[in-house]
Subunit: 413 residues, 2 copies
């Protein structure tokens, strides 16, 4: 019987691991709760109406349809039986593995305040993105109809908590929505008067970037009407706004872009986890004591040069590809070198023509960083058709200042 590989999670790590096993003499089963791969780096563009959900997702079956050694299973893993080498699915069915690759990523973390989740949704899933899109658009709609100036001001106040790349990109996009996209759309309010706050607990925005790039990003944010507040710790969030110790911001819309916690599947492995729930893996990304179990992507805790390998898409892709190579070597009795993360650089966009790029030796901000951001993101879009559609939508958006996908959907009417 062929060696059976079970991959849990169809994100960057899981999907790239599956694709890299294409030519191996193994049977691969990729399990995911969703029927699509999600290109998370562009999720904020769905939340702000620039792209549609279909454009940043790729049906897993479609991506892997020609890969005959692989099947896709829609399902949720609820436990792992390491003794029997089986994963247990929600419907109690069991699936045997010879090698297991756990790549279930991460979710939001509200620092011990799960009750904030309702008032300040995070941005991890397609549903999160359409929910945030609905809240943002509804806030403007309600402001248009609100006669009380104090309430109107609160409705036109948006708070983004957490100034990492996601928070910065989201706040910048909100700035563009209010200044450009909605410019002529209302009669009682001026959308450009919206107040957008970007709160950060640490001393500055974009902690992972060099200081002068963070300064450039902050300057761009200010031009888009975003006020950044560093060293600001949130003590309470409710439907009326955000409290930070003794000060308060009345805001109709609060978005969470701060804490991240690893997927609960780490707990099922029975091994030590770090504070955020990540699994301490060996240098070859296996779980200590279980060489048949790999952990890849945001769920893995691996350090390099004294720092944690970051939870970003390129790291997850490299880990997925590495695991496939490691398995290949093992099956061919070849030595397996430890995983090595190659930092290809980081990019964050703030708005049209505005981005920051950090490639270690070269660091720059502005138009060329923005162009580079566009090309690199397009390059990693899995399906060619989506690449074409996104490029076209970006071109249209660039010239018309419009965002076509600004639908209020769901039960909020």
């Amino acid at each position: 019987m062929r060696h059976r590989v079970v991959i849990v999670g169809g994100g960057f790590a899981g999907l790239y691991a599956a694709q890299s096993l294409k030519r191996e003499n193994v049977n691969v089963t990729l399990i995911d709760r969703r029927n699509f791969h999600l290109f998370q780096p562009l999720l904020y563009q769905v939340a702000t109406g620039a792209l549609s959900p279909g454009e940043i997702t790729a049906p897993l079956r479609h991506v892997l349809s020609k890969q005959k050694n692989t099947r896709v299973l829609l399902g949720e893993v609820v436990d792992i039986d390491r003794g029997a080498r089986e994963v247990i699915l929600q419907d109690h069915s069991r699936l045997e593995y010879d090698t297991l690759i756990v790549a279930t990523g991460s979710t939001h973390h509200y620092f011990g305040h799960p009750e904030w989740c309702h008032s300040a949704p995070g941005l991890k899933t397609i549903e999160d993105a359409t929910e945030i899109r609905t809240r943002v658009l509804l806030a403007f709609e309600r402001a248009e109809q609100e006669p009380d100036p104090v309430k109107r001001r609160a409705l036109l106040t948006f708070v983004v908590i957490g100034a990492g790349p996601t928070g910065v990109e989201l706040a910048g996009a909100l700035g563009e929505v209010s200044r450009d996209t909605l410019r002529d759309d209302f009669r009682s309010i001026n959308p450009a008067e919206a107040n957008i706050f970007l709160l950060e607990g640490s001393p500055r925005i974009l902690q992972s970037y060099p200081e002068h790039l963070a300064e450039a990003a902050e300057k761009s944010l200010i031009e888009l009407g975003v006020r950044t507040m560093a060293n600001t710790r949130v003590t309470s969030i409710d439907d009326y706004g955000v409290t930070m110790g003794t000060s308060h911001i009345s805001a109709g819309t609060v978005i969470w872009a701060a804490g991240v916690q690893a997927s609960p599947l780490g707990h099922m492995l029975g091994v030590p986890l770090d504070q955020a729930g990540r699994v301490f893996v060996a240098p070859d990304l296996t779980v200590p004591g279980h060489p048949e179990i790999f952990v890849a992507g945001d769920l893995a805790h691996i350090e390099q040069d004294g720092a944690l390998v970051p939870g970003v898409a390129p790291a997850a892709i490299q880990q997925g590809q590495y695991v496939a190579r490691a398995l290949h070597n093992r099956l061919h009795n070849e030595p397996v070198a430890p995983f090595h993360y190659r930092n290809k650089g980081s990019l964050a966009t703030i708005g049209r023509n505005r981005a920051v790029a950090d490639f270690g030796k070269i660091e720059f901000a502005g138009y060329f960083a923005w162009l580079l951001w566009l090309f690199i993101h397009l390059f990693y879009i899995v399906i060619f058709e989506n690449r074409v559609l996104i490029a076209l939508k970006w071109a249209i958006g660039y010239f018309t200042f419009n965002r076509g996908a600004r639908l209020i959907t769901g039960d909020h009417r």
Copy 2:
């Protein structure tokens, strides 16, 4: 003070009425429950994953942003005070009008069986479309995991009830999804073995079309694996399938494309309604006894040459434009000619290269009908950018047989 026009409903009739009032010296308020105009004729393409919701919708504010005499109000009209000439909104606020245009369209009608709604959703809203898309895709996913051949067969059985243009287009698209789109996607099932039934209560499909075109359409449907059943009256629908008197079809997915009922706003006008709830309007589309109230679109009952003007997009557009012209004439003390519906012909598509066209004098089926269908639908898409996107998506879909927007979303996981 300027003459105040209130339009309720931003569908074809309401939106075209508003746009046709662009140069009038009036204040226009367009009220809709949703923040977008929906291009309903292509809704079935969202339900079958070919297009994304954002592509067949146009934000009402955006469409009317440059029209300075017009404002858009997101809200639901719950009553009409004809004496005070005010519409009453859900939040109890009141809005005065000098002229009222009611264009709230129609919804599903389950022929006295509202309980069928859960098992057999209809196709009227964006949420309906994504719900049907989720059900169709989940049926294939569950079939892939179902060991029992009887249950598997039921999961792979799809029933569309009602063989008017919507039912025919939907059934044809389901045929393509199972035969083309999903061809290589599964390992345990062959999607092409899906059973698709199209049920019709009357003696044949496409009653409103000439008989030989209906025959051509039926032939095309059969080629796509769709079995049509005429003279078939459904007596019961539940989660296990459809019962027609003594016979039964076990089906995991049932879609309703049969009855239509006018919007409940007709009841608030205090005038006679027809069986489907449409308002009997005067030849100038006003409500008898209320020359200041117009009814346009699917909600209006108006006969011409002994037949009801059909509830189709071109009729709604013509009525919306007519009402604006009638109001113009009235404000300028010019005579108002009665509404006259110009039937520009009907088109229905069954699948790639397959459509039927009925232009009265000319009737034809096949490739050219299909091309014509494409161009005419693109022409009526309100936003230019969406026209480009849809054209591109259709081109990609034509050459790749793929449907990019096949997401299972919501709480069905």
